[in-house]
C-alpha cells in the first residue's frame, strides 16, 4: 500500500459529498438497533458511534480502530431514515485506516477469488481434500489467520465455461431478446449449479443467453480495504459485460456482486464512470428480473409443485439493493412450496469477514438466529441468493443450501435437485 494511496483515500474521506450526510444524523439510534455486529460483540462500538458520532469530528486522525470490526453488511445505510451514508463512510474510513496502518497478507490472499478458482479447478480433489483436512486448516489458521472452522468453497472438476462448451446447443430458438449473463467468480468455479440453472431457466423462457468472458467484481478486495485493486477489477468487468452490447439487460446470479455493479463500486470505491453507471442501470438480480416479468404479465407460472418447507435468507448485500425481496416473492409462486423468511439481518460471513480467525466467533454469533431457524424448520434444504452466505449456512447447519433459481429450475421441470422427490 503506497503512501500516495493512503493520501488519496484520506482526501476522499475528508472531502467527499457523502461526508456532508454525517450532519444529517439526528442520533436516533435506528442503525444501532439494526447492526448485527455490535449486537453480539463489544469489540465494535456500532455504526453511529464510529460514523456520524466520531468520524465527523476527526481531522486527519484515523477513526476508532473498532471500525475494523464492521462487517460491511450495509444495514446501517438501509435503515437510516435520514439518508446518512453510514456504511459507505465507515467502509472508506476503514480503507484509510488500513492504508495508513497496513493490511495483513491474509486479507490480500482471501480476496483472490478468481485466482483461487482457476488454481483449484484442475486440482479439485486435492484442493478439496486439503481444505477438508482439519490439520491443514489449523496450519492455515496459524500461518495466515483464516479460521480453521470457517466455510471454504468446494472446487469442481468442471468450470461453467467448460460446461457451456460441452453442452449440446439449445434446441429452442430464442423467442425473446438477448440477456447478458453475469455469474460471478463463484458461478464460474464453485457454484456452477446455480449458474447453470439460471441459464437454463432464462433459455426456457425464450431468452438468448450471452455469457461473456468475465472476471471478478472486486467486492472482496473492496471489503478488505484494497480499493485500488477493487477498482481495477470492477472496471475490467464492466468492460467485459459491455462487450456483447449496451442494450440488453445484465442478469446476475451472484447476489452481492450484482450490488457491487449497481451501487457499491460507485458509492464506496467512489468510481464515477459512465460505463459502470450504464452496467449498473441494466443489472438485474435473476429473481428481480423474473419478478419484473411477472409483474408485466410475461412470466409463465406453470410451475410443478414442490411440496417442501424451505427457510429462505436474504443476504444483507442483496437487501441493500432496494428491490424488496424478489426471491421470496418468486418462490411463493411455486405451488406447495412453503417459504419461511429468516428475518435475519446477516448470516455473519459478510463476504470474507467470517473467514478471519479474529472475527470467526463474531460471525458465528451474528448468524446464530439464522442457523437456529434453518435447523428448526428445514426439510432438507435452505435457500439463499449469495454464494458465501450459502457456504456459511451450509457449514454452520449441515443443511444443503441452494440458490432460489435452482428451485425455480426444478419447478419448470428442467431438472431435479438431488434429494428432492
Amino acid at each position: 500500500m503506497s503512501k500516495d494511496e493512503a493520501k488519496r483515500l484520506r482526501e476522499r474521506l475528508n472531502n467527499e459529498l457523502n461526508r456532508a450526510t454525517l450532519d444529517h444524523c439526528v442520533k436516533c439510534t435506528i442503525c444501532e438497533q439494526s447492526c448485527p455486529v455490535s449486537a453480539v460483540t463489544p469489540l465494535f462500538s456500532g455504526p453511529k458511534f464510529v460514523g456520524p458520532q466520531a468520524e465527523r469530528f476527526r481531522d486527519g486522525e484515523s477513526v476508532d480502530h473498532s471500525v475494523d470490526y464492521c462487517s460491511s453488511c450495509g444495514t446501517c445505510s438501509v435503515v437510516c431514515p435520514q439518508g446518512v451514508k453510514v456504511a459507505e463512510l465507515n467502509s472508506l474510513a476503514r480503507a484509510v485506516m488500513k492504508a495508513e496502518h497496513g493490511i495483513p497478507v491474509r486479507d490480500r490472499l482471501i480476496t483472490q477469488t478468481t485466482l483461487m478458482g482457476r488454481a483449484m479447478t484442475p486440482l479439485a480433489p486435492v484442493a478439496n481434500a486439503v481444505l477438508g483436512n482439519s490439520a491443514a486448516r489449523r496450519v492455515m489458521e496459524l500461518a495466515v489467520g483464516v479460521a480453521a472452522s470457517a466455510p471454504m468453497p468446494t472446487a469442481h472438476g468442471q468450470t461453467l465455461r467448460g460446461w457451456l462448451k460441452k453442452r449440446p446447443a439449445p434446441t429452442k430458438a430464442p423467442t425473446r431478446g438477448p440477456v447478458i449473463f453475469f455469474h460471478g467468480c463463484a458461478g464460474a468455479f464453485f457454484e456452477t449449479e446455480a449458474a447453470k440453472a439460471a441459464i437454463e431457466v432464462l433459455e426456457h423462457l425464450g431468452f438468448e443467453v450471452i455469457v461473456p468472458e468475465q472476471g471478478c467484481c472486486g467486492l472482496a478486495e473492496q471489503s478488505n480495504g484494497l480499493f485500488a485493486q477493487a477498482s481495477d477489477a470492477v472496471l475490467k468487468l464492466v468492460g467485459q459485460l459491455r462487450a456483447p452490447g449496451t442494450a440488453a439487460p445484465v442478469v446476475s446470479v451472484a447476489g452481492s456482486c450484482g450490488g457491487m455493479l449497481k451501487h457499491e463500486a460507485h458509492e464506496i470505491l467512489g468510481l464515477d464512470d459512465p460505463d459502470l453507471a450504464d452496467v449498473g442501470r441494466r443489472t438485474r438480480d435473476i429473481s428481480e428480473f423474473l419478478m419484473e416479468l411477472y409483474d408485466a404479465g410475461e412470466l409463465p407460472t406453470d410451475f410443478a409443485p414442490i411440496p417442501l418447507r424451505v427457510p429462505y435468507h436474504q443476504p444483507c448485500q442483496v437487501r441493500s439493493q432496494g428491490m424488496g425481496m424478489p426471491a421470496a416473492d418468486l418462490l411463493r409462486l411455486i405451488p406447495e412450496l412453503e417459504v419461511v423468511e429468516s428475518n435475519a439481518v446477516c448470516c455473519g460471513i459478510a463476504g470474507t469477514y467470517g473467514l478471519k480467525k479474529e472475527k470467526y466467533e463474531i460471525a458465528q454469533a451474528v448468524g446464530k438466529p439464522l442457523f437456529d431457524l434453518v435447523l428448526e424448520l428445514n426439510e432438507g434444504l435452505a435457500a439463499c441468493d449469495t454464494e458465501t452466505c450459502r457456504w456459511q449456512i451450509a457449514k454452520s447447519t449441515g443443511v444443503k443450501t441452494v440458490h432460489p433459481i435452482q428451485l425455480v429450475h426444478q419447478a419448470y421441470g428442467l431438472g431435479r435437485l438431488p434429494g428432492l422427490g
Binding site: 438497533q33 463489544p42 437510516c80 431514515p81 450490488g259 449497481k262 409483474d295 404479465g297 441493500s320 439493493q321
Partner: protein, 413 residues
C-alpha cells in the same frame, strides 16, 4: 400489474399496508429507512392533553376543533382502529381500552397519559397511595432511579393522591467490560433465560417494601413475557418504564408489525427513497423508486402516503422560510414559516400543525377537490395537530391509515 403502494414504514404506513394486504390486495411498502416506531415508547397514545390532562380520550376526540385530524373521523372510528391494532398485535404486546387513558411514569419521573400499552407496563400506572421502588442498573445508561423516584414522589398522582417512591440500584453488567450499555444490549441479554433469572434475583434483593417495582424497559426483545419471570421472582408486580432510544418496547411493536406484513404477503422495499411519480387524468399511474443502480417505476393502483412530517423530511422549510411537501408538491395549510414559530420554546408553535388537508376518504385536497383520485394521506403529514404536545400522534396514525385502507378496499376511488 398495478399494486397498492404504501410509502413510509412508521406506524401509519405499517397499519395501512397490513390492512390492505389482509383484504387480499397486492401491496408494496416502500420506505427510505426503518420508520420511527422503534424510537417510540411502544404505547399507543390517542389523546393525552386537550390542553388539560385527558382521562377519557374518546370524549376528548369528540370535542376536537373542526380542523383537527380526528374531526372528520370521530370517536367511534378512532376507537375501532385502535382496537383493531391492539387485537392484531395480541395481548402479549398491547392491552387497554381505547376509552380510558393510563397514566404511566416516564424515565424522568413525570407522568405521561397514554392509552394502549404493553402488558409489561400497565402495573406502573401512577395511583395515589401506592408505594413504588425504582430500580436502576449501574451499567445501563440513561436511567437514574433517584431522578425517577424523586420526581414521582413530589408529583401528585392524577387521582389527586400522594405516592411514595424510592430508588434502588443493582450491579449486573449485560456484557463484560461495558459500563455504559444501551437498553437494547440489556434486552438482548434478558432474552436469555439464565441472565433473566440473575437479573430477577438481583432486583428481588433490593426491592424492599413496596407495591410495585419500576424497571427500565429492557425486559427482553424477542422473548416476550420476561416481565412475568421477573415479577414471579420478586413476588410483586413489576412495570417497565420506557427509555430514550433505542427503545426496546418500540422495536417490539415494529418487528411484530413487520412480521405480520410479510406473512400477509406485503412486498417490503427497504432503504429506498421514492423520488418521483407519473400521473395522468387526475390519477397516479406509478411512483419512482431510487433503487440501487437506477430508478424503478412501480405501477400504482392506489398510493397511501405516510411519510411523516417535518421530522422525517417529508415536509421541509427552506432558507427563505418556504414550507413544501417533498414528493408530490401537495398543497399545505401554510406555505411560509416565519410567523408560525413563536419566541417561547415551550409554547405551541403553529408550524407543527402545518400539513395537508384531506377529504372524508383521506385524500389530500386542493380546495375541496382531491389532488389525485387515488392518493391518500396517513399519519404525521396531515395538518391540524401538534402531536407531541397533545400526545395524539399514534392514534392519528392508526385512524388515518385505517381510513385510507378502508376507502381503497371499499372502492372509493
Amino acid at each position: 400489474m398495478s399494486r397498492d403502494i404504501v410509502i413510509g414504514a412508521g406506524l401509519a404506513g405499517l397499519c395501512a399496508a397490513l390492512r390492505l394486504a389482509q383484504a387480499g390486495r397486492p401491496v408494496t411498502l416502500v420506505a427510505k429507512g426503518a420508520g420511527g416506531l422503534g424510537l417510540s415508547q411502544g404505547t399507543i397514545d390517542i389523546l393525552g392533553y386537550a390542553p388539560d390532562r385527558v382521562f377519557a380520550p374518546l370524549d376528548a376526540v369528540r370535542a376536537v376543533a373542526s380542523d383537527h385530524p380526528y374531526s372528520g373521523i370521530g370517536p367511534d372510528a378512532v376507537a375501532a382502529s385502535a382496537a383493531w391494532l391492539r387485537d392484531e398485535l395480541g395481548p402479549e404486546l398491547l392491552v387497554g381500552d381505547p376509552g380510558v387513558n393510563l397514566h404511566l411514569p416516564t424515565a424522568l419521573g413525570s407522568i405521561r397519559p397514554t392509552c394502549l400499552a404493553q402488558p409489561s407496563m400497565v402495573e406502573g400506572a401512577v395511583v395515589g397511595g401506592r408505594r413504588y421502588v425504582v430500580v436502576g442498573v449501574r451499567q445501563l445508561k440513561d436511567f437514574s432511579p433517584e431522578l425517577v423516584a424523586g420526581n414521582l414522589a413530589r408529583t401528585p398522582a392524577p387521582d389527586g393522591g400522594a405516592i411514595e417512591a424510592h430508588p434502588a440500584w443493582i450491579d449486573l453488567p449485560a456484557r463484560p467490560g461495558e459500563a455504559d450499555a444501551s437498553g437494547l444490549t440489556y434486552a438482548r441479554a434478558l432474552d436469555d433465560v439464565a441472565f433473566a433469572d440473575a437479573f430477577a434475583a438481583a432486583v428481588a434483593a433490593v426491592a424492599g417494601e413496596c407495591d410495585v417495582v419500576l424497571l427500565p424497559a429492557v425486559l427482553g426483545l424477542r422473548r416476550l413475557g420476561v416481565w412475568r419471570q421477573v415479577s414471579a421472582r420478586v413476588g410483586r408486580p413489576v412495570a417497565e418504564v420506557p427509555l430514550q432510544p433505542p427503545s426496546v418496547p418500540g422495536i417490539r411493536l415494529y418487528e411484530a408489525l413487520l412480521g405480520r406484513l410479510r406473512a400477509a404477503g406485503v412486498r417490503h422495499v427497504q432503504g429506498s427513497l421514492v423520488t418521483g411519480f407519473q400521473a395522468k387524468d387526475g390519477r397516479l399511474r406509478s411512483v419512482t423508486v431510487a433503487a440501487a443502480g437506477g430508478p424503478r417505476e412501480l405501477a400504482a393502483a392506489h398510493v397511501v402516503y405516510a411519510p411523516g412530517g417535518f421530522e422525517s423530511g417529508a415536509l421541509a422549510v427552506d432558507s427563505y422560510g418556504t414550507i413544501a411537501e417533498r414528493l408530490f408538491g401537495l398543497p399545505l395549510t401554510a406555505s411560509s414559516s416565519p410567523d408560525l414559530v413563536g419566541p417561547d420554546f415551550w409554547a405551541p408553535h403553529r408550524l407543527f400543525q402545518v400539513g395537508v388537508r384531506t377529504d372524508a376518504a383521506g385524500r389530500p385536497v386542493d380546495g375541496e377537490a382531491a389532488v389525485y383520485a387515488n392518493l391518500y394521506a396517513a399519519g404525521g403529514l396531515i395538518a391540524g395537530a401538534e402531536r407531541w404536545r397533545e400526545k395524539s400522534g399514534d392514534g392519528i396514525a392508526v385512524a388515518t391509515a385505517v381510513r385510507a385502507a378502508d376507502a381503497i378496499i371499499g372502492g372509493a376511488a
